[in-house]
Amino acid sequence: MGRYINEARAAALTARRRCASAALAHLLRLVAYGVVAVFVGLAAYVAYRAAPVLRPSFFLQAPRGGMLEGGVATCIYGTAALLLLTAACAVPLGVLAAVYLNEFVGGGRGARVVRAGVNNLAGVPSIVFGLFGLGFFVKFLHLDVSLLAASFTLAVMVLPIIIVATEEALRAVPTDLRLGSAALGATRWQTISRVVLPNAVPGIITGTVLSIGRVAGETAPILFTGAAFYLPYLPATPREQFMELSYHIFAMATQASDITKSLPIAFGATCALLLLVFAFNLTGVLYRARLRSRKRW
């Protein structure tokens, strides 16, 4: 076998190669920690700009003085109401749809059509959901600009996520349990409601919590379907409009009369919104981690 590799050249080359590899590792380290630094910097900046208004009363008072004073309590309330109603609509529908896909149909052509539909729904831009919500829920169904219309719009948006998460949770339940139940004479629905679903509930909860966290930050779908710039009172029924945290941030940033006063409020609302979103996310992730380490079968 001839010698094609020149020993001396290879040795010299090796030193350069190791240098290059180390340099690449340093560069990538810089990039990765740069991302961390950006996060820390932005978080610090938000806290800094929100400092002038961050007092406990900020979260407990309603806006006043042309929205340039007071707090964001009505926005927090509105956001909570929105999330509650959206979850109440989307979770039962999503779970049942996932049960249908996983337990009733399995892999046939019908299931593929439904899954294709679900996947497409997941990719639609949020503003297009807003358009749909406006044209369909607000106008066509005459629900008017209301909490109801906004919740329905968000529910349609969050449906695919809940369906996917529930299907995953259902699939994780071993088939043996279903077979055992059927062998005892249970009907399909009895098996599902007494054996499968209870075991899938933790996974469903995780999926719900994570998706609600995502929805809390969405503004585009509620711009024209329910969010209000200012309401002096809390909405009493779902047919009314409501104030909302993410919309409030947008309004304070773009439509306030005095930007020097409204920006701190916008950042304060940001703090409130981030606390809410991170709380949901953290709960979801921690719960999922706990699930994974506590497999009972």
Partner: protein, 252 residues
């Protein structure tokens, strides 16, 4: 072609807290095949991976003692792993060609070490494929992806790929374990041919294979070297009863 002797001197190896290799002292002679046999989990793979230090990727490892490649300890501080791994080639249990063409698989190593001219690379590819007894089968498929080859062909490709960086030692970790009998035969014939130019250490759980192709055989159990001798001796007149029990299939 320079061949090197590999010598383990009082070599101990820990994976975390697990004492995987206990006080191994063993020689691999140049231009010969040393077979390592023993029951599953006895540390055979760990033993050969210790020579090219590829076990660093398996987690936290600790060593005591020496592994000498031509008299130099590969665990000495400041040893260049890149050059070491060029001198000590490795073939794995399951063929692992890169998702590239046959040509690029072989040329991967030489390109790293400075062979860039097309003519030279072509020559390396052809020579190593001939040495690996694969040339006639792939000469017209050099630009096709290596993943299209059969299992036996892929393993011979991996051997050719290892040869392409001009190593001195070849480590083979159960190279025919995942191959069918015909391919296994081809690989065994290949090893016998290659030993004329390389120091070969082969791990195998197939004792007939060890008896067929190796010059010396070492029997390992629970991380300790039980017996090492000429292959003919080990398989006909082993010194220890333990060895005899293993060889006759009483356990393992």
């Amino acid at each position: 072609m320079v061949t090197a002797a590999v010598r383990y001197e009082g070599f101990n190896f820990w994976y975390g807290d697990f004492h995987a290799l206990k006080d191994i002292t063993l020689d691999a002679a140049p231009r010969a095949v040393l077979a390592i046999i023993g029951p599953s989990g006895c540390g055979k793979s760990t033993l050969i991976k210790a020579v090219n230090r590829i076990s660093a990727f398996d987690g936290h490892v600790r060593v005591e003692g020496k592994v000498l490649l031509e008299g130099e300890d590969v665990y000495a501080p400041g040893v260049d792993l890149v050059s070491l791994r060029r001198r000590v080639g490795m073939v794995f249990q399951r063929p692992n060609p890169f998702p590239m063409s046959v040509y690029d698989n072989i040329a991967y190593g030489p390109r790293l070490f400075g062979v860039t001219r097309r003519g030279e690379l072509d020559a390396v590819v052809e020579e190593t494929l001939k040495r690996a007894a694969l040339w006639p089968e792939v000469r017209d498929r050099l630009r096709e992806t290596a993943l299209n080859l059969s299992g036996g062909q892929q393993q011979r490709l991996c051997i050719a790929r290892a040869l392409a960086v001009e190593p001195e030692v070849l480590l083979m970790d159960e190279p025919a374990a995942s191959l069918d009998p015909t391919s296994t035969q081809k690989v065994e014939d290949l090893i016998v041919e290659l030993k004329a130019n390389y120091t070969i250490i082969i791990v195998t759980h197939n004792m007939q294979q060890a008896a067929r192709i190796s010059d010396r055989t070492a029997f390992l159990m629970l991380g300790a070297l039980v017996e090492v001798d000429a292959t003919a001796t080990i398989f006909t007149r082993p010194a220890l009863k333990l060895t005899e029990d293993y060889i006759t299939g009483r356990f393992g």
